[in-house]
C-alpha cells in the first residue's frame, strides 16, 4: 500500500509475469483498476475507472471460481454432484427479489450454497436474502438440475 498524498492510496502487487496489478483508491471512494506495462514496470498500461458496482462485479468474477473449485474438490467423492456459478444478470426477473421467490430448490433440487457480492462471500443465504444484479450464486446440484436453475435465474 502506497500513499498518494492528496489523491488516496495505491494498493498493488506483482504477479508472476512481472506486471503490477492493483487499484488506486481515491479519497472520495472512486476506484481505478491499474495494470503496469511490461517493458516499463514503473508505468501503467491502463488506468480504468470503476464504479462501485463494476468493482463488485470484477471482484465476483475473480473470487467465485476459487470457491467453485474448492467445493468441487470437497464433493469429488460424490458422483453426479457438481458446483457451478450462476450470475444474476441485469435482465434477470429475480434481481431485487428474495431468494425464496425463485423456488429454485423445489423446482430443480439444486441448492444455493453461497452468494458472491462485491467480492464478499455470503454463505448459506436464507430464503429472505434479496438478490441483486451482479450477484454470482454458487449452486450445487446435478448437471441437469443446474441447467434448469440457470434457465430459471435468467428467464424466470
Amino acid at each position: 500500500m502506497t500513499a498518494l498524498p492528496g489523491i488516496g492510496v495505491r494498493k498493488d502487487f506483482e504477479v508472476r509475469s512481472g506486471r503490477r496489478i492493483g487499484v488506486v483508491a481515491h479519497k472520495d471512494g472512486a476506484i481505478d483498476l491499474i495494470v503496469s506495462q511490461r517493458d516499463d514496470p514503473d508505468a501503467c498500461l491502463a488506468q480504468v475507472p470503476l464504479t462501485t458496482d463494476e468493482a463488485g462485479v470484477l471482484a465476483n468474477l475473480l473470487g467465485a471460481p476459487q470457491l467453485v473449485e474448492k467445493l468441487k474438490e470437497d464433493h469429488r467423492d460424490l458422483p453426479g454432484i457438481t458446483t457451478r456459478q450462476l450470475p444474476i444478470g441485469g435482465s434477470s426477473p429475480y434481481r431485487s427479489r428474495m431468494l425464496g421467490e425463485t423456488g429454485l430448490r423445489t423446482r430443480t433440487k439444486a441448492s444455493i450454497v453461497a452468494v458472491m457480492r462485491a467480492g464478499q462471500l455470503h454463505p448459506s443465504p436464507g430464503p429472505d436474502f434479496v438478490l441483486d444484479s451482479g450477484d454470482l450464486l454458487v449452486v450445487v446440484g446435478t448437471p441437469h438440475g443446474l441447467d434448469a436453475a440457470a434457465r430459471i435465474l435468467a428467464d424466470g
Binding site: 502506497t2 495505491r10 517493458d39 516499463d40 514503473d42
Partner: protein
C-alpha cells in the same frame, strides 16, 4: 447607466468569457489559468478595453480566491500524509528549493529589484502548480505509476514550504525590522507546529466545530472560519493564505471531504476572478520588455525541475523513463506563482515589472508544463534510439 448596473454587466461579461475560454482549454487538455490571465490582461489597465467597475470587486474577490485555493489545498492532505511525506522526501525537497528558486533570485537581482524582489521571484520560479500536476497525472492515467508518489511528495513538501515562505515574504514586504520579521516567522512556525499536532491528535474536534448536516450552515461556518483565520493571520503578518492552509489541514476525515466537495465550485469561481484580477492589474505594455527574461527563466527552470524530479525518482529506484516522467510532470507553474506575485504586487514595494515578468513566466509555464508531461515519453524514446538503443532498461 448607474454604477451597479455597469459593474454587473462587466463582471457578467468577464465570467461568461472565462467560461468560454475554460471550455476551449479543456478541449485541448490545457490548464485554463493562462487564458484567465490573458483575459485579465486584455481588459485591464492598458489593455484593449478597460473595465474599471469590475476591478474593484475583483480585488476583494481575488483575495477570497487565494484563501479558498489554500484552504482546499490544506483539505486535500491529511496531517499524517504531510508528516510521512516530509520525513521520506526532504532531501528532494531541499534540492527542489535550491535548484528552482535560485534562477528566479538571480534574475531579480540582476534586474536590480533588490532582496524583496529576489525573494518574490525565487518563490515564483520555485513552486510547481499542484493543481495542474494532479490534473495532468490523472488525465494521462499515471496515478498508478511508481514515480507518482515521488512527484506528489515533492508537491507536499512545496506546499509546506509555502507555509514558511509566505510569512517571510509578507514580513519583508511589510518592511518589518529584522526582529519584527523574526517574530512573525516564529509565530508562523509555532502555528504550523501547533496545527500539525492538534490535527494529528485532536483533528476530530476542529472538524466537529465546523461540521453540520445542513449544507447551508456547513458552508457558512466553513467560509466564516476560513476568513476569520485568514484575517487573523494577515493581521499577525503571517499571510492570510497560510492561515487558510493551516485551517484546511486541521479539518480532517469525512468533514474534510464534504467541505472540499462543497467549496470546490466556490474556489473555482473565486480563483478564476483572482487570476483575472491579477491580469487586470498588470499592464500588458510592460510584458514585451521582460519577455526575453521570462523565456530564459522558463527554459532554465524547466530543466532544473526535470533535474529535481529525475534525481528524486532515482533515489526511489525508478527507471530512466519514470525519472524523466517525474521531472517533466513537475515543470508546470501556475496558481501559487501568481499567489506569490499577487501578494508582492498588492502590498507594493516591488517593481511593477515584476508582475509583468511573473505573468509572462506563468503564461509560458502553465502551457509548457502539461505539454512537457505529454511529450516526455516519445522524446526519451527518440533520444535513446538516436544513441543506438543504448541501455533500454536504463538501470
Amino acid at each position: 447607466m448607474d454604477s451597479t448596473g455597469l459593474a454587473l454587466i462587466e463582471l457578467g461579461a468577464i465570467l461568461f468569457a472565462l467560461g468560454m475560454m475554460g471550455r476551449f482549454a479543456g478541449r485541448f487538455g490545457m490548464s485554463p489559468i493562462p487564458l484567465y490571465l490573458l483575459g485579465g490582461l486584455a481588459f485591464g489597465d492598458g489593455g484593449i478595453f478597460q473595465m474599471k467597475a469590475a476591478t474593484e470587486f475583483g480585488h476583494l474577490a481575488g483575495e477570497i480566491g487565494v484563501v479558498l485555493l489554500l484552504l482546499l489545498l490544506g483539505l486535500e492532505y491529511t496531517p499524517a500524509e504531510l508528516v510521512t511525506g516530509l520525513r521520506r522526501d526532504w532531501p528532494a525537497g531541499i534540492l527542489d528549493i535550491a535548484a528552482n528558486a535560485t534562477p528566479g533570485v538571480l534574475v531579480a537581482l540582476f534586474l536590480g529589484w533588490g532582496p524583496v524582489g529576489a525573494v518574490t521571484m525565487g518563490g515564483v520560479t520555485y513552486i510547481s502548480s499542484s493543481g495542474i500536476v494532479a490534473k495532468v497525472l490523472n488525465d494521462l492515467g499515471r496515478l498508478g505509476n511508481r514515480e507518482t508518489p515521488v512527484i506528489l511528495s515533492i508537491l507536499v513538501f512545496e506546499d509546506l514550504a509555502m507555509a514558511v515562505y509566505l510569512p517571510i515574504l509578507t514580513m519583508m514586504l511589510a518592511g518589518l525590522s529584522f526582529a519584527g520579521g523574526l517574530k512573525s516567522l516564529a509565530i508562523a512556525l509555532v502555528a504550523i507546529t501547533v496545527v500539525l499536532v492538534v490535527a494529528l491528535r485532536y483533528g476530530r474536534f476542529v472538524s466537529k466545530v465546523v461540521d453540520s448536516n445542513d449544507n447551508e450552515v456547513f458552508l457558512l461556518k466553513l467560509l466564516g472560519a476560513a476568513l476569520l483565520v485568514a484575517g487573523a493571520a494577515s493581521a499577525l503578518n503571517v499571510s492570510a493564505a497560510v492561515g487558510a492552509f493551516l485551517l484546511g489541514i486541521a479539518i480532517s476525515g469525512s468533514t474534510a471531504q464534504e467541505a472540499a466537495k462543497l467549496l470546490e465550485p466556490l474556489r473555482d469561481l473565486f480563483a478564476a476572478i483572482f487570476f483575472v484580477a491579477f491580469g487586470l492589474n498588470t499592464d500588458p505594455r510592460a510584458i514585451p520588455p521582460v519577455l526575453g527574461w521570462a523565456i530564459v527563466l522558463a527554459v532554465i527552470t524547466a530543466l532544473t525541475k526535470i533535474g529535481t524530479g529525475w534525481w528524486a525518482a532515482r533515489r526511489q529506484g525508478i527507471r530512466r523513463m519514470g525519472r524523466a516522467r517525474a521531472g517533466a510532470a513537475l515543470v508546470a507553474r501556475g496558481e501559487f506563482s501568481i499567489v506569490i506575485a499577487g501578494l508582492a504586487v498588492s502590498v507594493g514595494g516591488v517593481s511593477h515589472r515584476l508582475a509583468a515578468l511573473a505573468t509572462a513566466y506563468v503564461l509560458l509555464m502553465a502551457v509548457l508544463g502539461p505539454i512537457a508531461a505529454r511529450v516526455v515519453e516519445p522524446a526519451v524514446r527518440f533520444f535513446q534510439r538516436d544513441r543506438g538503443g543504448l541501455d533500454p532498461v536504463g538501470m
